[in-house]
């Protein structure tokens, strides 16, 4: 059910300007600003809105983590930003995506070629399917380089070797001529990262980049992301379902549920002082590594069917606090405290 945002009242506008004033980030423009994005996918049973009224920003040198469970729309959001939705089923229905001042939704496919890999890159979950098994890793990284820059063969080779060294691949002069199947999962993911960063994009999107990797390898790759983000001064948009990764990596967090943003804000605020029942339920259901508990708390019910989403607030069927207003109207993502926003009529919850 499509709920149009009510006209912003004076109170909300005052809160917004207060929020903007209190934000600690510098006054520079964000790298990426997504405004009221709506994306739908055609299925056998009709068109389904999988990303609904999503807005967020990513700034240089900072990491935004988009967290949510399967089906919440976080991957589709990243694909929408990259304009990589499956055609013709996927379609951006509304909203704009402003990358470094340009609205990506207005660009032609040809113009997007110049953007992808050059201004914004993406790293996916499965490194084995991201790499072409019949070409060496050197060839593939070189291809990514030459797609955007003019470069002689020798210069290209030395730049690729430098890129491999930067992502921590030992013995890059030799490894540059190996094939993907000769490398382990962690190594392959590093190669994919090198490929994504060879043209020094300003923004890197990583969609569950470590989910398929072992815990110790995951730690190495996350550390690599942090280093690269700092040394390149990139913006990093990290999509994950693992709240531990969010706590480690994020500066800002955005929680998604059923295609909508339910909460967003700085990481400390979200973890220590969550303002949406879904976030609270999620945090409460995590087993603690510090101690053995009796029973884990759960979120009752199941994720809604996006073909027939619930009226009003998408979380109300499972929420212990839901009121009549929650059933009737979808709450907007409103300021709770400074940069911390929540889409809940009852916020602030404390």
């Amino acid at each position: 059910m499509n709920m149009v945002d009510p006209k912003p009242t004076a109170a909300i506008m005052a809160a917004e300007s207060a929020a903007m004033a209190s934000e600690a980030a510098p006054a520079e423009e964000p790298l990426l600003r997504v405004n009221r994005l709506r994306t739908s996918i055609a299925t056998e049973r009709g068109r389904m809105t999988v990303v609904n009224d999503v807005s967020f920003e990513v700034r240089a040198g900072r990491t935004l983590c988009i967290v949510g469970e399967s089906g919440c729309g976080k991957s589709i959001t990243s694909l929408s930003v990259m304009r990589l939705l499956p055609k013709p089923q996927g379609r951006i229905d509304a909203g704009n995506i402003t990358l470094l001042g340009r609205d990506l939704t207005t660009l032609t496919e040809h113009q997007m070629h110049a953007v992808r890999g050059h201004e914004v890159s993406i790293v996916f979950q499965e490194p084995m399917t991201a790499l072409n098994p019949v070409y060496t890793i050197g060839d593939q990284i070189t291809e990514a380089l030459l797609a955007h820059e003019r470069c002689g063969r020798h210069e290209a080779r030395s730049r690729v070797i430098a890129a491999l060294r930067e992502v921590g691949i030992p013995d890059p002069e030799r490894r540059i001529d190996t094939f993907p199947h000769e490398l382990s999962g962690g190594m392959r993911q590093r190669v994919v990262i090198a490929m994504a960063l060879i043209c020094r994009p300003k923004l890197l999107i990583a969609d569950e980049p470590t989910t398929a990797l072992d815990v110790t390898v995951q730690a190495q790759i996350l550390e690599l992301f942090r280093q690269l983000r700092d040394s390149h001064r990139m913006g990093l948009m990290l999509i994950t379902h693992d709240l531990g990764v969010v706590a480690e990596m994020a500066d800002d967090v955005m929680v998604m549920y059923a295609g909508r943003v339910v909460e967003s804000g700085p990481v400390a605020s979200i973890f220590n002082n969550p303002q949406h029942p879904y976030t609270i339920g999620l945090l409460g259901s995590l087993p603690k590594i510090t101690e053995r508990q009796g029973r884990l708390s759960i979120i009752p019910g199941t994720v809604p069917n996006l073909m027939a989403p619930p009226s009003g607030c998408c979380f109300h069927p499972r929420c212990p606090l839901s009121t009549e207003r929650c059933v009737a109207d979808a709450p907007p993502l409103a300021v709770v405290r400074g940069p911390h926003r929540s889409a809940c009529w009852l916020a602030p919850l404390d």
């Binding site: 382990s184 815990v215 531990g244 973890f271 087993p287 510090t290 759960i298 212990p320 606090l321």
Partner: protein
């Protein structure tokens, strides 16, 4: 728990794969442990450590090349195929992938009735009733019994898999990463179910997982595997609060904790898992260990008790000299009252 005979005894279990042209791959290389009645032993390790191979040998789905598996005192490799199949009802398995663990062409009812019929657990007339009870046990309705697996979500399919394991009235259940493929909120439901069932029926679990927070929650003892060998085994609290082996320490330090204020202490492991066919002398962890020396490369460390019946056993030459590892996890911050209140309202304690 400790006084009765253990339900499972694994002694020097090994599985070597002969490869043409290169040395054998030793997926499991001399593993020994016991599981007591009603106990949950967690088996932790990363890919390539051999835990899946070990699970298959315990389930008698694969023949070991060395050592033996004893279930309730019976050596499984000495049984005839017929006897083994009859004994199988006592030890069952739950799989990781809910999407491939159920026969897509059998209804839920048929899937659950199969073991009941096969092992004659109840007479034919009583099968429908028993299936209904099993479904109820795992939180599903009888009406759902007539549906096919593809009509259920991942969490529900996992419950059906659990019901199938339960149908045999087993005494040991091997859980192979049962919640890894599930969403966070569904994970909690399934973990609660597994614990409730254990409290109700008293079976033992061999819980294989790479997710250490889940392991902490559900297990009594933890065994850590690396490249086919056990490097540490002991009560859960010990392994988590006072890990003795460098690999265990690295593993614990690598887990991201869902608390932004916990400091990140990274024990950086050098390098990567070596090629499985590489011949490593001495301790297999030595190439990546910050404390390795000549002794480590020369001699294979043996699991030795760190002293006392409730403390861990560790396979390391230098465990005594290693610095005490503190992950900084001890202080658990108090959850704000409003949060605890909302969480309590979401899942009221069962009566």
């Amino acid at each position: 728990m400790r006084d009765e005979a253990p339900i499972l005894q694994v002694q020097d279990l090994a599985r070597h794969y002969a490869m043409r042209g290169s040395a054998a791959v030793k997926a499991v290389d001399g593993v020994s442990f016991d599981i007591a009645i009603g106990e949950t032993l967690a088996l932790v390790g990363e890919s390539g450590c051999g835990k899946s191979t070990l699970a298959r040998m315990i389930m008698a789905l694969d023949k070991p090349t060395g050592g033996k598996v004893q279930f309730q005192g019976t050596d499984l490799s000495r049984l005839s195929a017929r006897h083994l199949n009859r004994l199988r009802r006592k030890f069952q398995i739950i799989f990781q992938d809910p999407y491939s663990s159920l026969n897509p062409r059998m209804t839920v009812h048929e899937t659950l009735a199969e073991p009941l019929r096969l092992h004659r657990i109840v007479p034919a007339e009583a099968i429908a009733g028993r299936v209904a009870k099993l479904l109820e046990c795992v939180g599903l309705t009888t009406a759902q019994g007539g549906r096919y697996p593809h009509e259920f979500s991942g969490g529900q399919r996992q419950r059906i898999g659990i019901a199938r394991a339960l149908a045999c009235e087993p005494q040991l259940i091997v859980c192979d990463e049962p919640v890894s493929a599930l969403d966070v909120s569904v994970r909690a439901q399934v973990l609660n179910l597994l614990q409730d069932l254990q409290n109700q029926f008293g079976f033992s679990y061999l819980f294989i997982s790479h997710d250490l927070s889940v392991v902490r929650h559900i297990s009594h003892r933890v065994a850590v595997m690396y490249l086919g060998r056990l490097v540490e085994i002991g009560p859960t609290e010990n392994v988590f609060e006072r890990p003795l082996h460098p690999y265990t320490q690295a593993l614990l330090s690598a887990i991201p904790v869902a608390d932004p204020d916990v400091p990140r202490s990274r024990i950086a492991l050098r390098g990567e898992l070596p090629n499985p066919t590489a011949q490593l002398s001495g301790c297999k962890f030595a190439p990546r260990c910050a404390y390795a020396d000549g002794l480590c490369v020369a001699e294979v460390p043996v699991l030795e008790d760190s002293g006392g019946p409730t403390t861990s056993a560790v396979a390391c030459h230098h465990w005594r000299e290693l610095a005490v590892f503190d992950r900084g996890l001890k202080q658990e911050r108090e959850m704000p009252g409003y949060m605890a209140d909302i969480i309590a309202r979401m899942s009221p304690r069962p009566a």
